[in-house]
């Protein structure tokens, strides 16, 4: 294993670094929550689009029936 000489960090800077690491962890948690919400929103959107498609096909069928009945030869 590679051994390196110890590096000393000023206590103020060390505290700053710890605070920054905590802030990063917090932001990462926020990002993960938003990603979860985004996935849920996308799934809902996809499901709505599928329903939209089904509903539209139903209307198309009805219109086709009306068309064929009214304008049949």
């Amino acid at each position: 294993m590679k051994e390196t000489a110890p590096i000393f960090v000023k206590i103020e800077e060390y505290k700053d670094a710890l605070e920054t690491v905590n802030a990063i962890k917090l932001k990462l948690t926020e990002a993960r929550d938003i990603l979860t919400e985004l996935s849920a929103l996308k799934a809902e959107e996809d499901s709505e689009i599928e329903s939209w498609k089904a509903e539209m096909e139903d209307v198309e069928k009805r219109m086709s029936y009306i068309d064929s009945t009214l304008f049949e030869e």
Binding site: A5, I34, E55, M56, D58, I66, T69, L70
Partner: protein, 132 residues
């Protein structure tokens, strides 16, 4: 004046046609409602993506801050090189000592010192190996 003739078309199943027209109207209104909901969902999604972008920027700023708070890799490398040159210098000095050392009178003493030097050399070489 020209007389206008009126034509009539017979509908076989008027109730069914009426029912279909009404159902179609209902379906189209539901499509519009659903469309509004999809737009709302899309706006929510875009809002969340904007939030995520904001967080990503904040994370980049914090990463820079962390980099500033900790010693740079350059300074660590400089420190390692300084340590390595120190150890190299030690080896050279020891080697010089070995060469310049007068031959000991006693055979036993010579053997023990040689062993000691050899072990020291080995130790220094190991240190160097660990550094590089």
């Amino acid at each position: 004046m020209k007389e206008q003739t009126t034509f009539y078309v017979s509908l076989k199943d008027p109730v069914e046609i009426r029912k279909n027209i009404l159902e179609s109207s209902k379906g189209i209104i539901q499509l519009l409602q659903r469309y509004d909901h999809i737009v709302e969902l899309k706006n929510n999604r875009l809002h969340k993506i904007a939030e995520l972008r904001k967080i990503a920027k904040e994370l980049a700023r914090l990463a820079g801050q962390l980099k500033m708070a900790l010693p740079s890799v350059d300074s660590i490398e400089r420190e390692s090189k300084r340590e390595a040159s120190k150890v190299e210098k030690e080896i050279k000095t020891k080697q010089k000592e070995i060469k310049e050392k007068p031959k000991p009178v006693l055979e036993n003493r010579k053997t023990s010192e040689l062993k000691k030097l050899e072990s020291e050399l080995l130790e220094i070489e190991n240190k160097l190996k660990n550094l590089s």
